[in-house]
C-alpha cells in the first residue's frame, strides 16, 4: 500500500458540504473563525450567503446553530474538536442534545495528529464527552470516501450528530461505491484469531497490522467502527465470539471512547479479553503528526506488538 492516495478528512468535510449544498437550500454552515482550517471555506466560496462566521465564540455558535435549526434550516456548526466538543460541551448538551435539535457538529482537528500545535489543540476527549449526551450520534470516518458519505448521512438523519475529522492526510481505503450507514460497522478483513476494532486513521493502521500479523500466522479480523454511538453491538459480539480476543484502536484517550464502548458491551453481554490502544491518559505535545502517532503507539507496529503478545506469539 505504498502508493495510496492520501486526503485529510477535513477536506472531505468541506467538499461534501459543497456538494450537499448544491442539492439542499436549507443546509447552512457556521464557523468560528476557522473556515480555512475546517475547510468550510470550500462551502463559503460556493455559497457565501449560507455560511455564517460567528467569530471566535464557539459557545455562542453552537446555540445559534440550535436556534437556526428550529426555523427549518439544517446547520453544520464547525470548529476544532477541542472547542466544539470541549469548550462548548454544555451548550451542545443543553441547547442541542436536550431539545434533540437537528444540528450537525463538524469537528475537525481531532486527536493527536493535529501535530505541531501541541496539547492545547489535540483533543482526545471528544468521543467521551459527546457519547454521554443522550440521543447524540458520534462518528469518526476512516478516509475521504467514508467522510463524504458520513456528511451526507448526517444531513439525512434528523437529530443531533457529532462528526470528528482529522487534520492530517490519511490513505483512501474505500472504493467510491462504498455504502455507509450510521450505526453499522464494516468488516474490512475477516479473521478468526483476534478482532481489531478501529476507527478514524487507526483503521488503515489496523489493516497494515493485519497484513503483518498474517505473516506470523495470526489471522486478524479488522473492523472499521466509524460510528461510536450508537455502537454496532451485534458486530462487536459477533467478532468477539468468533475471535475470542478484541483489540480496540482509536486516536482518542483510552478513557471514554471506542475502547470503553466496546468493553461496555462485552463485559455485560459476552465477557471477552480486550486490549485498548489509544492515548493512555496523558496529554500530547508538539511534533510532526506521523512522529507523534508513532510515539503514542497509534501505529501498525504497535498494534502488531500488542496482538502478538495477546495471541501468545
Amino acid at each position: 500500500m505504498a502508493d495510496v492516495k492520501k486526503i485529510a478528512t477535513r477536506d472531505s468535510y468541506g467538499n461534501a458540504l459543497k456538494e450537499l449544498g448544491a442539492q439542499h437550500d436549507n443546509l447552512v454552515v457556521l464557523d468560528a473563525d476557522l473556515a480555512g482550517a475546517t475547510k468550510t471555506g470550500i462551502f463559503l466560496k460556493a455559497y457565501p450567503d449560507r455560511h455564517f462566521d460567528c467569530g471566535i465564540a464557539e459557545a455562542n455558535m453552537i446555540c445559534v446553530a440550535a436556534g437556526m435549526s428550529t426555523t427549518g434550516l439544517v446547520p453544520f456548526a464547525s470548529s476544532f474538536a477541542m472547542f466544539a466538543a470541549g469548550r462548548a460541551y454544555e451548550q451542545v448538551r443543553n441547547s442541542i442534545g436536550y431539545p434533540h435539535l437537528n444540528v450537525k457538529i463538524g469537528a475537525t482537528h481531532g486527536g493527536i495528529s493535529v501535530g505541531e500545535d501541541g496539547a492545547s489543540h489535540q483533543c482526545c476527549e471528544d468521543f467521551g464527552l459527546m457519547r454521554t449526551i443522550p440521543g447524540m450520534i458520534v462518528m469518526s470516518p476512516a478516509d475521504d470516501v467514508e467522510a463524504k458519505a458520513m456528511v451526507k448521512a448526517a444531513y439525512e438523519h434528523v437529530g443531533p450528530v457529532y462528526m470528528r475529522f482529522g487534520r492530517a492526510a490519511v490513505p483512501v481505503i474505500h472504493d467510491e461505491d462504498y455504502q455507509f450507514q450510521i450505526g453499522k460497522g464494516e468488516v474490512v478483513k475477516d479473521g478468526s484469531d483476534v478482532a481489531i476494532i478501529a476507527n478514524g486513521l487507526m483503521v488503515y493502521e489496523a489493516i497494515v497490522a493485519a497484513e503483518e500479523l498474517q505473516k506470523d500466522g495470526i489471522n486478524a479480523m479488522v473492523i472499521n467502527m466509524a460510528t461510536i454511538k450508537p455502537l454496532d453491538e451485534e458486530l462487536v459480539l459477533e467478532a468477539a465470539k468468533k475471535c475470542g480476543k478484541v483489540i480496540t484502536c482509536e486516536e482518542h484517550s483510552i478513557i471514554g471512547g471506542l475502547g470503553e464502548a466496546v468493553c461496555g458491551v462485552l463485559s455485560e453481554k459476552l465477557p471477552t479479553p480486550v486490549k485498548r490502544i489509544g492515548v493512555n491518559d496523558e496529554f500530547g505535545h508538539s511534533g510532526p503528526a506521523a512522529a507523534l502517532l508513532k510515539q503514542f503507539g497509534l501505529s501498525a507496529e504497535h498494534i502488531v506488538e500488542v496482538a502478538k503478545e495477546f495471541c501468545g506469539k
Binding site: C54, A57, C63, A66, G67, M68, T70
Partner: protein, 281 residues
C-alpha cells in the same frame, strides 16, 4: 392601546401572577420573584405583541419567544396557560414527577415553548440563531428574548449581542429584567453589570430604558423596536422582584423559594384584592 385594552392587560397580568403563585406553591419549589417581576412583559408579549396561534404552537411563521432566564418558567407557563396553550389548572403540577411542566422550559413537552432553556446565557444565543434563520429565509417573524440582569454576567450573552449586531438582526428584541437582585444579593454587590444600557449601545443595539410594570412604556418600546431597521433592539426594564406580593417584593430570598400554605393564601389574597379593584368589584 385604549384604556379598556390596558385594563384587560392589567387584569391578565394579575391572573398570570396568581398562576405563578399557584404553580410554585404546587411545586413546593421554583422561582416566583423573577417571574412576578416580568408579569407585565409576559402579558404584553403573549396577549398583544406576538403573532402566535395557541391552536398551532409550531406554526412556522409565528413570532418566537425565548425565556433565556429559564428559571422563571412559572411566569412563562402561566402566560402560556392563560393564552390557551394548555389548561390553567395544570399550573400547580409544576415540577411534579409526572408533569409535563418541567422545572425549566422544555420545548418538547410544553406547548408554546419555543426553546428549551435554563442554563443561563444560552437562550439569547439560541434566540439570535432563530432571528438569523428567519431573516435568512426572508420571513417577517420576530424573535423576543427575556434575560435576567444577573444572567448578563455570563460571557456568552455578549457573544450573542455581538452576533446580533453584526448580522443586523432588526427582527430581534433583547429584554432585560432589571429587578436588581440575584441569588446572592444585589447585582451591583455580587458582580455589577452596570451600566447595562451603555454596554448594549456600545454593542450596536438600539436601547430603551422603561418601567417594566407600565404597559404604556412596554408598548412604546416594543413599537420603537419594530420600527428600527438595520440593528437589534434592547429594552432594559426596571422592575420590582416579587411585584404585587408584599412579602416577596425586593427580597432576594424569594428568588428561588416557594410559598408555603399560609404564604400562598396571603399572596393570593393580595392579588385577588388587586384583581377585584381592577374589575371594579
Amino acid at each position: 392601546m385604549t384604556p379598556s385594552e390596558k385594563k384587560q392587560l392589567q387584569i391578565m397580568a394579575c391572573k398570570i401572577r396568581m398562576g405563578i403563585i399557584d404553580a410554585t406553591h404546587g411545586a413546593k419549589a421554583g422561582h416566583p420573584g423573577g417571574s412576578l417581576s416580568a408579569a407585565e412583559m409576559f402579558t404584553y408579549l403573549y396577549f398583544k405583541e406576538m403573532n402566535i396561534d395557541p391552536a398551532n404552537p409550531k406554526w412556522e411563521d409565528r413570532d418566537r419567544f425565548v425565556l433565556s432566564k429559564g428559571h422563571t418558567a412559572p411566569g412563562l407557563y402561566s402566560a402560556l396557560a392563560h393564552r390557551g396553550f394548555f389548561p390553567v389548572e395544570d399550573l400547580p403540577t409544576l415540577r411534579h414527577i409526572d408533569s409535563y411542566l418541567q422545572g425549566h422550559p422544555n420545548m418538547n413537552s410544553v406547548p408554546g415553548v419555543d426553546m428549551s432553556t435554563g442554563s443561563l446565557g444560552q437562550g439569547i444565543s439560541c434566540a439570535a440563531g432563530m432571528a438569523l434563520g428567519l431573516k435568512h429565509q426572508g420571513k417577517d417573524a420576530r424573535v423576543y428574548t427575556l434575560l435576567g440582569d444577573g444572567e448578563i454576567q455570563e460571557g456568552q450573552v455578549w457573544e450573542a449581542m455581538m452576533l446580533a449586531s453584526h448580522y443586523k438582526l432588526d427582527n430581534f428584541v433583547v429584554i432585560i429584567d432589571n429587578n436588581g437582585l440575584q441569588i446572592d444579593g444585589a447585582i451591583e454587590k455580587v458582580m455589577s453589570p452596570y451600566p447595562i444600557g451603555d454596554k448594549l449601545a456600545a454593542f450596536g443595539f438600539y436601547v430603551e430604558h422603561i418601567d417594566g410594570h407600565s404597559f404604556d412604556q412596554i408598548e412604546s418600546a416594543l413599537n420603537n423596536a419594530k420600527a428600527m431597521k438595520g440593528q437589534p433592539s434592547a429594552i432594559i426594564m426596571k422592575t420590582t422582584k416579587g411585584k404585587n406580593v408584599s412579602f416577596m417584593e425586593n427580597n432576594a430570598g424569594w428568588h428561588g423559594k416557594a410559598p408555603n400554605d399560609a404564604e400562598h393564601e396571603q399572596a393570593i389574597g393580595e392579588l385577588k384584592a388587586i384583581l377585584n379593584e381592577l374589575e371594579g368589584k
